[in-house]
Amino acid sequence: MAVVEDTTGKAVNESGAGPMFDAEEERFARAQRIESIAKWVLPIFVISLTIWLWDRVVVWNEIPHYILPGPGLVVQTLIEDRVTLGWSLLVTLQITFMALAVAIIGGVGLAVLFAQSRFAEMSFSPFAVILQVTPIVSIAPLIFIYVESRLVGLLLCAWIVAFFPILANTTLGLKSADHNLRDLMTIYKATRWQRLRYLQLPSALPYFLGGLRIAGGLALIGAVVAEYVAGTGGIGSGLAFRILEAGYRLNIPRMFAALLLIALTGVVIFATTSLISHLALRKWHESAVKRE
């Protein structure tokens, strides 16, 4: 907006009303624009810089590729080995998502059971806690002894890791329904099912989604760790197996390529669960509502 000097020397805008307001607003708008650009540019810049430095360190010090491959070589390996690594990625993804799905069903189901019956909660919640606090690497070998199928063993491991955050969060959510709303349900003589369906489940949704975001990452970790423990051999080997195998053969670039895929998978899972959470809550929950 054009600003003209009036006789007293104060800056006013052309309509004559509200001197300096536009300047103020413009500064605010500019600050916001800069922030929204910086949100994307900064991390991209830092990551690019890191990759560039990595490349330079390798070149300047003439580090051999069997000790530290440069980023270019990693990408090249990724492209060359795309069939092998692609199949392994599919295996890891399959285990991760199946484990997550079972964790959701098991976690939510058990949480609903706990919310319905205090006795069920008293009886089973210690088990859930024990499962959670025992490191998965220490249970996994036993699981692979007792469980015939390698796939089922891997699934079981990933599930144990992923299911607790969903159970714990959903249980908390089901219990944190507003007291007055509960009274209202009583006054209107709601059945147990109606209370669950119309009050407890919606109240638990934000908590469940918070648990889901944690569980998504944990399912991947569980799948990878279990595969390390399960070791070589067997059909359908996932990314962790590729890393192990490449390690034995000192094929360091491939180790990095597989690692890159695992990291990317983790990022995609986190982004997806965050997006789901945002879409489900954006209309009403404080965490997702955009304030003006």
Binding site: N180, L181, D183, L184, Y188, K189, Y198, K283
Partner: protein, 266 residues
């Protein structure tokens, strides 16, 4: 709310709806919240429960709502309690944040297994009564405090209940909104012929709204006096500024003060 056939006869000629007989409520810790509370609620009454904090007003409402059982005594509904008998407004709006205004008002019907389509008109009518027909599809967080309270009232009214319980519904609102809602509440009540029990801390609110004021005292919680406000409805600014209003407010205020123990009077 299809039937508005509840004309209200004058006080003394009304049919009883609900009787509390010598009701005691003692909490686990041995706190006597209510002692020997007897009360007959008649059809069309607008009763205010007025008293200092802790005198058992909320406890009385919760007993009537069936959220607690009395330790002694009985609560009898005339002709038994039906499922449509009660509407409740709490001090907080108590809306489901994940549901739209219309869905919130639909709740009592939904819990009775009625489809939305079959009660759509009643919901619209109820929202129109509280002046929120344009906000049917808004979420509670998009409304002001007074508007949320209106939604809460619309939800209590939508089933056209025999008895509406209100526990300090306007306590958290500013004076202007509060007066507006008081006016609206009276208009609604005249429209529906409902029976209301209204809990309040405010002498003026109770004199403005009700035709029976029950002044309560604490420790133990009990009714010390009933003041009948015989002014005809509809009431408005004329009533608020009349000498009669001032006289009854004075009387009520004096009664309330006399129930306090000396150390509670500042």
């Amino acid at each position: 709310m299809t039937k508005h056939d509840r004309s209200i006869p004058p006080i003394g000629q009304r049919e009883p709806v609900l009787r509390l007989q010598e009701v005691d409520k003692t909490f686990n810790g041995g706190i006597v919240a209510l002692r020997r509370l007897s009360l007959t609620v008649n059809q069309g009454d607008f009763i205010s429960l007025l008293g200092p904090s802790g005198c058992g007003k909320s406890t009385a409402l919760r007993l009537i709502a069936g959220l607690m059982r009395p330790s002694l005594g009985r609560i009898l509904w005339e002709g038994g309690q039906g499922s449509d008998d009660l509407g409740v407004v709490f001090q907080e709006p108590t809306l489901m944040p994940w549901a739209t205004v219309a869905q919130n008002v639909y709740l009592p019907f939904r819990l009775r297994g009625k489809s939305y389509a079959s009660v759509k008109d009643q919901i619209a009518e109820s929202l129109a009564l509280v002046g929120l027909e344009k906000f049917a599809n808004s979420y509670p967080r998009e409304l002001s405090g007074g508007m949320k309270m209106r939604v809460s009232i619309a939800r209590a009214l939508v089933t056209n209940p025999r008895l509406i319980l209100m526990d300090e519904p306007f306590a958290a609102l500013d004076e202007i909104t509060r007066q507006k809602l008081n006016d609206d509440l009276l208009a609604l009540k005249a429209n529906m012929g409902a029976t209301v029990i209204f809990v309040t801390h405010s002498v003026f609110e109770s004199v403005f709204l009700s035709d029976r004021i029950l002044v309560m005292a604490a420790r133990p919680g009990r009714i010390v006096k009933e003041i009948v406000v015989d002014a005809p409805y509809p009431r408005g600014l004329d009533w608020r500024t009349s000498p009669e209003y001032a006289r009854i407010a004075r009387e009520t205020s004096d009664t309330l003060t006399s129930t306090l123990r000396p150390e509670e009077i500042h």
